[in-house]
């Protein structure tokens, strides 16, 4: 898999920490592999919206990658609840259902961006850099390929 120039936190130079939320273990594993190519670190995983909320409180990640269609509590509702408690939360919705109403609903409820599945690593990489803004630096470490 392609390696990208590592994205680090500006404040301490540490890897960006991700909370990955998807009801599919397969999808979560693929996302984890992708964020590792960005130099990211897994802070936690959740398989539904309700667990995502408790995992956010527990891990305080820099970025949440959140699926939309999930059992028990869907991603948009979970995103809204997280942002209500943590206005600084950076949530990127990652879903195969990418129609405009869904995207608008997610953004209105506090998500920062949307990426459609199947996830293209180069697209997610650009979105992560955009969402983190000045809170991230891109390292020019050896081995960077993008």
């Amino acid at each position: 898999m392609e390696q990208f120039a590592p994205v680090k936190r500006s404040k301490d130079g540490q890897p960006v920490r991700y909370l990955v939320v998807d009801d599919s273990v397969f999808a979560r594993k693929n996302l984890v592999r992708i964020i590792e190519t960005f130099g990211g670190q897994l802070a936690g995983e959740a398989g539904d919206g309700a667990t995502a909320i408790t995992e956010y409180d527990r891990t305080n990640p820099d970025i949440v990658l959140m699926d939309i269609t999930m059992p028990q509590m869907e991603g948009i509702e979970a995103a809204e609840k997280i942002v209500r408690q943590h206005p600084e939360a950076r949530i990127v919705m990652v879903s195969s259902v990418g129609y405009q109403e869904n995207i608008v609903a997610a953004l209105q409820r506090g998500a920062r961006h949307f990426v459609q599945k199947p996830v293209k690593p180069e697209v997610l990489y650009e979105v992560i850099k955009y969402v983190l803004g000045e809170d991230a630096t891109v390292s020019n470490a050896a081995g960077a390929g993008a």
Partner: protein, 165 residues
Amino acid sequence: MKMELIQPFINAADAVLAEGLQCSTTVGSLSMEEEAYRRKGVAALIWVTGDIEGRVILDLDPQTAVRVASKFAGTELPESDTLVRETVCELANQVTGNAITALNDQGFHFRVHPPILHTTDGAKSSEDTEALVICFETASGSIFMNIALRYNRRRQGERAMAAGQ
């Protein structure tokens, strides 16, 4: 069954498989199914409700599922029942989600339900929800998609009334 409902699913499957497998796909066979659905391998079913309702089934044999999972992951994965089930469900999720996105852009509204494993041989198709079975030939093996969709008549009536007002 209306082709305008089917084409977005064919396009979505083609796009998702091409992206994930990094290869081109071809439609190997296409047939209408009137009898109860017979699984060919491990199958995931997704219900769709709204302006259009019905279900989509994606069906792969376990060896194909492992090859597909490995391609998606970019690394060789060992075969396990969990991996096979997860792969089939996520593939169904991505294909249906992408197709629904295209249909939504045409003005149809729905809700997509999470994928579930299709463990029985399913109910017989009714006359207005006849199923179309499409076989996609890929470098990783054959992938079957079984689609049974119909317009929601109540929603159609409501839309017609709204348009007439």
